[in-house]
Symmetry: C2
Subunit: 104 residues, 2 copies
């Protein structure tokens, strides 16, 4: 269990795909922007603006990154997504994640 | 949109009902303990330890509090739940909530 100290947070959730993907935005003390979210089983495509570092805290999924083949990832695992791209996910079990935005 | 400043947070989600109810625990600067969560449509029973103040930020639900009849609540709405009790919810549309724990 990790305790984040001295952060700011947007109280309201981001809700996507009828609530099967939800997240809340936080900013760490050093200014790093993250979202903490949960993805329920299903198939999703996400578009990025900033590059993202995705840390899996629970769950299992299949991912297809731009120009790559599908691969299976189990927690604990981290993957990187390029800026201005899109990626596909097949969530196999409920996935708790932390997404860190990497500014250009 | 409400920005919470100078809070602490447990990074990992609380996951209930196969992910249909999820939340994360935060502590406000004044020590108040809250969870921010999302409930997907479904029927749920929750047990309380501390008394709770439940603020709906989105969604519609039916609730049956201890010793009361079912009633329908629409956002924005707040309801109070006694300590050491249980209550029933029928979530009608995705509900974003903030639960504040009231210490005895």
């Amino acid at each position: 269990m990790t305790k984040l100290e001295n952060i700011s947070m947007i109280k309201e959730a981001n809700i996507y795909f009828d609530g099967k993907v939800t997240s809340r935005a936080i900013t760490l003390a050093d200014g790093t922007r993250q979202t903490l979210g949960v993805m329920l089983p299903g198939d999703y495509t996400f578009n990025t603006q900033d590059a993202e570092i995705m840390e899996m805290m629970s769950g299992e999924l299949e991912i297809r990154l731009p120009g790559e083949e599908w691969k299976t990832l189990h927690t604990p695992e981290t993957f990187n997504v390029p800026a201005n791209s899109s990626f596909d996910l097949k969530i196999k079990t409920v996935t708790d994640y932390c997404c860190t935005y990497v500014e250009a």
